[in-house]
Symmetry: C2
Subunit: 155 residues, 2 copies
DNA sequence: CCGATGTCAGCGAGACTGAAATCA
DNA sequence: CTGATTTCAGTCGCGCTGACATCG
């Protein structure tokens, strides 16, 4: 059944940027989730693993702030990752209340595999963009995080 | 307490694009939700209203496909919007099983107000990007949807 | 019969708020 | 005492799968 009219007539209304970004967010999230699902990771868990790799020793509260979630939500994520043996936590000697996370060997291997899977999604998504255009796209995205992040400079 | 080290030393590792996009997705979602929360809309409801405005007469199944959600999930959204008087639905005379949605006056007013709120988020996010750079950014985003959308040409 | 649509039901992962304990 | 961190609960909006009826 072809009840949906085609857009080949050029009647596309001028799309609003919020709308387009929301759509990108939706479909990209689905595709990334599909890509890392074979490895048993959710997108939040994947992001958290990536953060721990890039900055070893982050505490649960620091991970929560960088992910824009509450410490309680991040605690669930971290506990799950620890239970699966992807990260380990050690108490900070100076602040015994704080546990700092780092990747295990298994976590590093899993992360490498997930990076490979998400890279394929990236490549497909960026089809048609020249290398210099990709660089500008990356710079624009980094600017978005910077401006929306409430002054948080670190990524 | 300043346990979080600054990144002013230039020790930032090369961020992966998936990671940056996932972060943009996270923070942008939060900011957009905050922006439209005063009007009682979720991000999905806002997207759905926008789609109905741009293409009047879409059915529930069509809206679901465009939003990358199941028809059941979209049905909840549509029923909520209808109950709040933001859209109305009328049975298609040729296909009595299909209900086609259109905005009410209240829905149009609400959408205009939400557009204003999300535009402010956009402007803040795009601070530092020249107009031509914004255009290229928009084109890149549209390309992302096109490549990831599985052949769905309409936005 | 078949495919698409709309709708009702139950379910589960995810993130939230509240509250309490620990530590500098 | 104050503030930050961690963690144990309870809660909820959201999207999912399953099932069924309807329509062309």
């Amino acid at each position: 059944m072809r009840t949906e009219q085609s857009s080949t007539t050029g009647d596309d209304p001028p799309a609003r940027l919020s709308y387009v970004i929301a759509r990108v967010e939706r479909v990209l999230r689905r595709r990334l989730e599909e890509a890392i699902e074979p490895y048993g990771l959710t997108l939040t868990q994947y992001m958290t693993l990536s953060m721990v790799r890039d900055r070893r020793g982050l505490s649960n509260a620091q991970l929560a702030r960088r992910s824009f979630v509450t410490p309680q939500s991040m605690n669930d994520v971290v506990c799950t990752l620890e239970r699966r043996g992807l990260i380990r936590r050690e108490v900070d000697p100076a602040h015994r209340r704080i546990s700092r996370a780092e990747l295990t060997e298994s976590g590093r291997d899993t992360l490498i595999a997930c990076d490979k899977a998400t890279s394929e999604v990236e490549d497909r998504m960026l089809t048609g963009l020249a290398p210099d255009e990709r660089d500008r796209f990356m710079v624009a995205l980094l600017g978005c995080v910077r401006e929306l992040g409430g002054g948080l400079r670190t990524i």
